[in-house]
Symmetry: C2
Subunit: 336 residues, 2 copies
């Protein structure tokens, strides 16, 4: 039996520690050297949407983004797990129209906007459920754009054998250092392929995005544009109140982060020359969000003041009807 | 460092174990003897809504339920974390009216119906958010009923010092065997007090409800009515598709179960003369739901066929847009 990953995050209610969350964290440099780690970072995880910034590289590197006269907004959406707010819907819809396509071409399923839950909005305040509102619709629009540019059929663009997916998989393999044939294949909720990689390999991929000089110039440029697009449009990458958006919109943070379902984060830290990947064992995003802020501070990517400001925005708090704080997230920072 | 609780539940996606959930489980008889356990059952937890069947005893034992001519439906709602479906709203509203009260007297906050999330319903298909729609509104109506019957003020009925709360606390103490002054006090999301008890003590309380002969006749009768009301109205206790409702509506299960937030369950098993309590470390209800069915089978409270039928209804499954199963919950039954 392996040593369990450390408990990093607790949910406190009154005098009781109500729940706890374990996680593994890897910090890598671009040579693939793991410079710090906690827990079992050899564990093979599915990065889920934490893979989108890697997948988005193909949209630029293939020449598709420029060929269609698209820019940072579309590239940020290709990296996004967006909240399905009106802005997201309008941007994705306009993008598909610019391609001569429509929402019907998206292979993701109709979804209710994440914003409803995140912002406790009434449905009247949100777009109606649709494929374009699906949090992955930007990634899918990116795949369609690449397929059109490659003169490949749009249909079945989410098939693992489609040239668009093979291209994205090759880039994931190059950056993570995991051999194409060794990456387990699974299907994401949106229908697109997702590949298993170790936590350490995901950290290395993030580090290679942070320091893209070692790869070919076309890829170096593509990677820089992906990061720059995410930072230029933090609201398109996630949505109001969500950790990726809040972090990248903050002056105190110069890197890029991307969440993935089931408690995944990857962080690209160009100033530190590092990449970070984490997985919360049980998949809780409340734990991943809080731990991300603490880890970024530990790595020197944000100062104390920024950490406290971001934690106040990101960390879960629960108030009773009279408005008193009754439950909150505590990160056990001393073990970092 | 304590031995971590065992991993009981995994989330599988393709060839990868994506997430995992640890839990502690206690099975007690009514003498307070722990007959089986897994993990650290001395851990003090907040049973949250898993305490409602204990709190509801006071509604009967005080004479309040009968004095107002109320019955099983109201008693089931007092035990409920209901989904805020139209039936729940109508029943709670009618109950408050029968008391000469209204929704305004409830001290819980307005809430959007849980049914929206559980059933993926559009808000047009659900009641509007309100205090009566709050999943705890039945418990609150029960407190108001008891307060009126005791000639105590309705106002501040959720204060820990209110006679209604002191009465409920005494019953919790009697059944769990935890001294009143030793139970940590916390505030539930709905504003009502909740008390910390060990997992083993919660199991013992459930066992004493399963075999109530050892306590005074008034309480014995009150406990029997609580269980009978939960079993008579499983839909009022939770809602369409939810584990408590599905289990208690099934002919193959003769006991009563109640979920609590953050991965708690208590199960009252009269046929076995046992009580069971569990807490999932990280608070995930998807893990608690699946583990509950497996544990009930392990304890002989449901047969294999019933287990499989219930698991098919309760355990999380995720399908991709073409409708293929891509992710599911797996309970590691061999360690039970």
């Amino acid at each position: 039996m392996n040593t369990p990953n450390p408990i990093f995050v607790e949910l406190i209610r009154g005098p009781v520690t109500e729940s706890s969350h374990r996680a593994a964290i890897a910090v890598s440099d671009s040579s693939g050297q793991i410079v710090q780690s906690w827990g079992d970072i050899s564990q093979v995880i599915l990065p889920r949407s934490g893979m989108k910034p890697l997948q988005a590289i193909s949209l630029v590197e293939s020449g598709a983004l420029d060929a269609f006269g698209l820019g940072d907004a579309q590239l940020a959406l290709a990296c996004a797990s967006h909240s399905g707010e009106f802005e997201h819907l309008e941007q994705v819809t306009a993008w598909l129209e610019a391609l001569g396509c429509s929402e019907d071409d998206l292979e993701c399923a109709p979804q209710r906007p994440l914003a409803e839950q995140w912002l406790h909005l009434s449905p009247q305040e949100c777009p109606q459920p649709s494929k374009a509102v699906n949090n992955c619709s930007g990634k899918h629009a990116g795949f369609i754009t690449t397929a059109l540019h490659m003169n490949e059929p749009v249909e079945d663009y989410t098939s693992p054998e489609h040239p668009v997916q093979l291209l994205a998989r090759q880039i994931i393999s190059d950056l993570t250092g995991e051999a194409v044939e060794s990456m387990p294949l699974a299907c994401d909720n949106c229908g697109a392929p997702v590949y298993g990689v170790s936590i350490s390999a995901l950290a290395t991929a993030a580090a290679r995005m942070a320091c893209p000089n070692e790869v070919n110039p076309l890829r170096t440029s593509a990677i820089r544009r992906v990061i720059s697009a995410m930072r230029a449009h933090p609201h398109l990458v996630a949505g109001t109140g969500r950790a990726d958006t809040v972090l990248m919109a903050d002056d105190g943070f110069k890197g890029a982060t991307k969440c993935g379902a089931e408690g995944v984060y990857m962080a690209i830290l160009p100033e530190q020359g590092l990449g970070m990947a984490m997985k919360v064992d049980d998949g809780a995003s409340r734990a991943a969000d809080a731990l991300l802020v603490a880890v970024l501070h530990h790595l020197g990517a944000i100062d104390c003041e920024t950490r406290d400001r971001l934690a106040a925005k990101v960390n879960l708090t629960i108030y009773n009807p009279p408005g008193e704080l009754i439950s909150y997230i505590r990160v056990i920072e001393r073990i970092l």
